[in-house]
Structures are given as C-alpha cells and as structure tokens.
C-alpha cells in the first residue's frame, strides 16, 4: 500500500477561514441515527476525505452539506453562508457529484452539461465556454454529441463529475466518485480530484478505499456509525498505530469466525477478513512477534489453514482496525 505522501505541505491553507464548516450535525431516520454529531471543516484548496464503511453515514453527511437533506440539529456554512436558511448563495458555491450517476441518459454529453449549467444561471457565452473547458477536463470532448446512454460506465462517471463542475464551484463535494470504476478510469478520476485541489478548489470526498484516501487527501476523517472517530492527515492517523503491528494472514477455512476469535485476545486491537482480497485476515496487534504462536494456535483450533503470514507497515486500514476493531467493508 502507498505510504502517506508529502503533498499536504504544498496545498492546504489550514489557517485560512474554513470554506466548509459543519458543526454538530445530527440526522435520524426513524430510530436509526445516521449521522451523530459530525463536526468538520475544510479549508480553501484542501482535499478532505471522509472515510467509512457502508452505512457509516457518509452520503447522509454529504446531502446535509449540499442542502438536500435537513439536519435534525447542527449547522452547515459554506464561506460563512448558511446552507439551509438561505440556500441560494451557498448552493451556488457548491458542486455536488452524487454517488449514483445522475444524468439524462437520452440527452447528449454536451446537453447534460448545458442543462446543469443553466440551473446556475450562467450567462450563455460563459456557459458555452465552461462546457468546452469541462469537456476537456473530463476528457470527453470527442464524445460531446453522443448520448449519455451510449457512453461506457467510466465515461459516465467522468461526466457525472463534470456536471458538478460547470458552474466553477469553490467547494466540490464528491460522493464515492470511484465506486464501480475500472482501475484506469479510477486513476483518471483521482488525478482530476488532485488537480481540483491544486487549482485552489476545496474538495470533500467520501470513499471506502483506503489507499485512495491516503494518496489524495490532505486530511481524512474516519466515520463509523454516524460519528467521526478520528481526524487528521494520513500521516497523523497512521501515527496513532505507529507502535502497533499489522499482520496479514493468508488462510482458508471459516475466516469470519477466526477473525472473531482473534479479536477476543487482549493483545489484538482489531481483526477482520479483508473483503477485497478473499482469504486474508488483517489484524492490528501489539508486539506481533510474541503473539504469532497464539494466533497460529487459534487458527488450528478453528480449523483454519494458514498459508502465509506477513507483518506489514501500518496504514489507514490498520488505523481503522485499531479504532473500530473491524475492517472497512466494500
């Protein structure tokens, strides 16, 4: 996995007024609290990653930020403007890219961009110029006259992002822009997210891909069960587990039960099956070398065959295991 990068020193202006300021957001659906007191802020030029498993409350938080959902309590301000009370001016600053591709399938690429631009009342000349720029940016200039339903999945994802950029937002809000995208498109999307940050746009971005967050984000907030459980630069977060070891066990058998048994050991901070890599159990432990024989015994007792053991440098995955005891799920 990638190591925390040094880019953070170049961009964020963290001492500047935050562009996005969320304070104590709470949102319930019936008896379920989807967002439970989330406070975060994003500075101009900063890329902030909201990292969490399925159902953690990422999309709910994002929708509250964009004024699409009302919070039960808490406030959101964009450049000091309240999103809920007087939404117009605040919304003008936000570019929202929803988790699912939200476009007119039977309109062309260009028509879609024009449509979303018109919603922001861009004057015609400027709108047309911006549409060309955005087409260039998302590398779809050649497909401008094609209908969206004739595009590949990755192209649609790129256009989905482009539609949030036409009005030149100062805060770009992306909800899992790389989900379900092949590695090549994913790379392209991540590259453009990085460029937006370089251009001084503030970006808030949800994902459950650890390595993505580590590579792209100046700061990461880890959200689980609706609460932010940790926040900091990737480097700071990894430092939380600097004294710990991360163990990767490639094995076969009932791994879920095995991971559970591991978690019961006091020296084990967290353990879970890696869903993206079937047959691997990740564990964050104190002093891996002395614990290893007991982990192997436990495998034997649970009829799990261990094929290889590796002790690796802690990363955000380890941070998450350490903080929650379980893995991020895809």
């Amino acid at each position: 996995m990638a190591t925390p990068q040094a880019a953070q020193t170049i961009r964020p202006q963290q001492d500047a007024e935050p562009l996005l300021d969320c304070s104590k957001l709470v949102r319930r659906f019936g008896s379920r609290t989807a967002v439970d007191g989330v406070s975060l802020d994003v500075a101009p030029g900063e890329t902030y990653g909201l990292l969490g498993p399925n159902g953690a409350g990422k999309t709910t938080t994002i929708k509250i930020v964009c004024g699409l959902l009302e919070a039960d309590s808490g406030t959101v301000r964009v450049a000091g403007l309240p999103v809920r009370a007087a939404p117009g001016p605040a919304k003008r600053l936000i570019g929202y890219v929803p988790q699912e591709v939200a476009l007119y399938p039977d309109l062309t690429v260009r028509e879609n961009l024009l449509f979303f631009g018109r919603l922001y009342r861009l004057p015609r000349r400027r709108l047309e110029r911006r549409v060309e720029e955005v087409l260039e940016l998302i590398d779809l200039t050649a497909r401008g006259e094609d209908r969206v339903d004739s595009l590949s999945g990755g192209m649609r994802r790129r256009l989905n992002i482009g539609a949030g950029l036409v009005h030149s937002p100062t805060l770009l809000v992306l909800d899992e822009p790389t989900v379900g995208v092949d590695p090549q498109s994913r790379h392209a999307i991540m590259e453009s997210v990085r460029r937006f940050g370089d251009q001084g746009m503030a970006v808030i971005y949800t994902t459950h891909y650890m390595e993505e967050a580590e590579r792209l984000c100046d700061r990461v907030g880890i959200i689980d069960h609706g609460s932010l459980i940790a926040e900091g630069t990737p480097r700071e977060l990894v430092a939380l587990v600097a004294e710990k070891d991360q163990v990767q066990l490639v094995a076969s058998g009932d791994l879920t039960r095995y991971a559970e048994a591991c978690r019961a050991l006091p020296e084990v901070e967290g353990a879970d099956v890696d869903r993206s890599d079937e047959g691997t159990v990740h564990a964050v432990v104190r002093d891996a070398r002395s614990l290893l024989p007991r982990l192997l015994d436990l495998a034997h007792a649970n009829r799990v065959q261990i094929r290889s053991v590796e002790i690796v440098e802690p990363d955000l995955e380890a941070v998450f295991l350490h903080l929650t005891g379980t893995a991020l799920r895809e």
């Binding site: 964009c66 007119y104 039977d106 449509f115 979303f116 018109r118 919603l119």
Partner: protein, 389 residues
C-alpha cells in the same frame, strides 16, 4: 430561465423518442382514419335496396336518392332473397323493393306502390320506414316535377327528370334544413367529424399520461435530486415540467386539429370555443401526466398502466362510442371522467354549432378537472422531490 431549462430538457427528450412520436402523431391519425371510414354514424338506419340492374332513370334516381341520404346507410342487394336473409340476420333494418315496372308506372297515370320489407322484431323498423318515406317523397317530388314539365312543355320524360334533379340540387333542400333543426344533438357528426375530435380527446390524455414516465425516470436517475443541489427549488422543477407537458399536449392537439381540418374536412366549430377547449383539455392532460409522474414507481409501470387507464377513461367518457347509446346509469358514470365533458363540448360545437357561451359550462367543469389534477400532481410531486434528497 431555470424553469425553461427543465422544460427544454423534457421536450427534447420526448421529441427525440421515436416511440413517443409514433404514439403522439402517427397512431392517432391512423386510428382517426380507420374509425372515420368505418363509423358511419349511430343515428343512421340501415336500409337495403333491391332494384333491377338494367332499370331506367326513375329507378336510378330513386336508388341514388336512398344511397345519398345522410340519414340512411344504404346497401344494394342483388336480389330479394339475399335481402330477406340480411333482414332475418338483422344486418339491415328495412329493405326497399323497387318494382321492375317503376319507370313505366312513373311515366304513366295512377299510383305507384313501393314495398318496404321489415322484420317483425326490428325495433328500428318504423323509424327506418319513416326515414325511407322522407327520402322517397323527395324523389317523388322530382318525378312529379318531371311529369309536370313534360305535360306543360313536352319533351322526353328522361331529360325532364334530369332537369328536375338538377333544379332540386340547386334549390335549398327542405329535408336538409329539417335535419339541422331537429338536430341529432346527442351525437357528433359522422365519419371523420366523429373520429377526429374523439381521438383528440383520447390521445392527448393518453400521451400526456405516458409522458409521465420521463418524470419517473428523472426521479429514479437522481437528476432531480442533483438539480435541487443547485440554487433551484422543487417549485421550479414542477413548473418546468408543467410547461413541457403543456407544450407537448398543445403541439399534439394542433397537429390533430390541423390534420382533421385540412385532410379530413372536419369543421371544428366556433374558433374561440374550439381554442379554449383544446387549451383546457391540454391542461387536463398535463395534470394527469404530472400526477402519473409523481405516483408511479417505474417508467415501465407508466407505460403499461398509463395507456390502459387512458383507454378505460376514454371508453367511459364517450371517446369510443357515443354516451347517448349507452344505458342511463353508464352515461351518468361516464360523466365522472373529464373525457365525457370534453366530448360533450365537441358535440355541442360540431353538431349544434354552439359558440363559446354554449360550452362555457363545460369549460368551467373541465377547468375544475384541470385545476384539481394540477394541484394534486404538484403536491404529490413536491412531496416526492422533498424526499429525493
């Protein structure tokens, strides 16, 4: 401008959909033609005629008179036994048997007798006979005129009969005036004048409802949700869609009205009243379309259930057959649906030549339907949009 952006997107999408265009334009015209050709009226009597093929001018004039009479649907049978069979099978209400000697008798003195066969059970028989008698009286008038001319000025009877027929054609016909005064008031006129207004009512509604699929699609695809992240309220989206649906319904109506007037010779009655009616009906369709867009869950549901609902309402409302021919309770039930009021209005305009004041009551009722549907649809749609976030 933001409202128009929404309108524009919807209009472009639907105009680009070949299937939708087929259902909006080609299908209605095709059905107007089929019904216009086949439905030759519910107020006509079916009359059979048996006449010698090589008969003279008087017989020919009589057969033409019967065939051309707008109150009669005339079928010429080759012989009496075929005609009797048709009568027995209720394929015709009455059969006029023209004596082979008619021409000879007509030229000479004395009374001419024209037998009309009816089935004892036929409910229409007496009325049919009366209609035939009025047509025959017409014909007899011309024969007498011809004989009078022959007696006064000489000349051949045949050519004098021709003269009488031409004179009669050039003279305003008494019987035609009577038909208008009595007014088949419960029915639209026949042929295309029947099929075009009824299909206008039927299809504008059905197509508007089917267009509701585009709203369902936008709800599903997240386009609305995303649009609401822009400085745009739900009201803007609803208004934009309303304008789109209204324009589509108006364009479709304009096409059907023009095709009816230009190709099928339909006269749409007082222009102001017809215009108001087209406009109000387009609004009724718009309301129904928006409501479909708000209520259905999937576009497929709209496409499968929408037209079925539209056709059912059309049947109840008198688009398929006149409500004047159905039992009173069904007629009353039919007036629950807006279609019936629209068809009634067109009947008033086309058959009774009423003006704006004659259909004002209907227009008020239809406006109430339109307002109710639009209100319901707006509320339902705004609720949906509030929860898309």
């Amino acid at each position: 401008m933001r409202i128009l952006a929404v309108t524009r997107a919807t209009v472009v999408r639907i105009a680009r959909d070949r299937g939708a265009l087929f259902f909006m334009v080609l299908l209605p015209v095709a059905i107007i033609v089929v019904i216009g050709v086949t439905v030759r009226g519910f107020d006509q009597f079916r009359v059979g005629v048996v006449a010698a093929a090589d008969a003279g001018p008087v017989t020919r004039d009589l057969v033409t008179t019967l065939t051309d009479d707008p109150a009669l649907r005339t079928h010429v049978y080759p012989d009496q036994s075929t005609a009797r069979t048709a009568l027995r099978r209720s394929e015709t209400d009455a059969v006029v048997v023209v004596p082979a000697t008619l021409d000879r008798q007509a030229a000479g003195p004395g009374t001419v007798t024209l037998p009309i066969l009816v089935a004892p059970s036929a409910t229409n028989a007496q009325a049919a006979v009366a209609a035939v008698e009025s047509a025959v009286a017409d014909h007899a008038g011309r024969v007498q005129a011809a004989r009078f001319t022959v007696a006064e000025t000489g000349g051949a009877f045949d050519s004098r009969l021709g003269l009488a027929a031409r004179t009669a054609a050039a003279t305003p016909s008494v019987s035609v005036t009577q038909r208008t005064v009595n007014g088949q008031s419960s029915y639209l006129p026949l042929g295309y004048s029947y099929s075009t207004p009824t299909m206008l009512v039927l299809f504008v509604f059905i197509n508007a409802v089917s267009n509701g699929a585009s709203i369902v699609q936008n709800r599903q695809s997240g386009v609305y949700s995303r649009a609401l992240a822009a400085p745009v309220g739900a009201g803007t989206l609803v208004l934009g869609e309303t304008l789109a649906y209204l324009s589509l319904a108006l364009v479709q109506s304009a096409l059907i009205v023009s095709v009816g007037a230009l190709a099928f010779g339909v006269s749409w009655g007082a222009p102001a009243a017809a215009l108001a009616l087209v406009g109000v009906w387009a609004l009724v369709g718009t309301g129904a379309g928006l409501l479909a867009g708000a209520l259905f869950r999937t576009p497929e549901q709209v496409h499968s259930i929408g037209p079925a609902v539209g056709i059912t309402l059309g049947m109840l409302g008198g688009c398929m057959w006149p409500l004047a021919i159905v039992p009173a309770w069904l007629r009353a039930a039919g007036h629950v649906v807006p279609q019936s009021w629209a068809v009634d209005s067109w009947t008033e305009l086309l058959s009774r030549h009423g003006g704006l004041h004659a259909v004002l009551g209907y227009l008020v009722i239809l406006t109430a339907y339109a307002a109710g549907l639009l209100l319901l649809a707006t509320l339902a749609l705004r609720r949906r949009l509030a929860s898309v976030g």
